[in-house]
Amino acid sequence: MKYFSALLIAVLMLVLFISLQEIPLSQNLMPVSSHYVDSGVKDTGATNLVNAVLFDYRGFDTLGEVTVIFAAAAAFKMLFSHRRIFFFRYGMSPIVKTGMAVYSPFIFIFGIYVIMAGHISPGGGFQGGVILASLSILLTLVYGLWYKVRQTVLSPAISSNIESMGGMVFIFIGLAGIFSGNYFLSNLGAGFFAGIPGSMFSGGSIPLLNIASGLKVTAGLSIIFYSIAGGE
């Protein structure tokens, strides 16, 4: 077994090195990429070009991803919703609970920051949403599932409402582009506030779409975890 694993590691390492030699590292950009790099800030007003591509040039694809998360959460809720048996009933020890009470505001603030500053620094709606969802998972594990059910903000009914609302906000921002005479999910052409690139209020509809998808990812992933942990 040891010789087999050593041989496997050696072969995989060789394949990895050979394939990594073939990666072109930013010498010759494709025409589409060089167009994004050259005129991305001017077109969208967002200095984070990854988010400019995600929510402006390829906004419809992001709507598809958001729909995938919605479908996954709906399927989990349908499959696991019968006969609830809580096995994180009372949570962990008081030491862990106190530590979590100290930690959780910082995680929350960090998640909100990653969502809100998605158009000017690395981050965005998906990343911040997953950070907030992992905060929800931590609260479930540490304080027990009954705490989550009793809380009004974290309860599953409110989470599913938030998830539907995030998707609706995303689609309505997209429809605003059509009503203003442009294409679906058009950003600066639809008259959203451009601002100075690099400042907090800039980027047109990109911060709004970040907030919508962040809400949706947060609620969707916490619904998935809650259904798996709660249902038996």
């Binding site: 390492m13 990895l16 090195f17 690395p122 950070i131 942990a229």
Partner: protein
Amino acid sequence: MNLLISYIYYAFLLLLVITAVYSVISRNLLCSIIFISLFNLFMVIVFLLLQAPDVAMAEAVVGMGFTTALFTIAISKTKEEE
């Protein structure tokens, strides 16, 4: 990339392969989950060295936090049988 950073990069690639192989061949499923989590940790560092901080953030939270929790829950709900 200069020379030192490229050495660090290749070291983390080696760690990636080792953790991937051990996550496949280990007999204990909980052990496999911890190796997958370690794999994602090294993957985050590789993404940072390749200058993709967005992907690194998503990988850190999803790979090390969310999937570890989901897999642990799934294993604790199933019976151990070979």
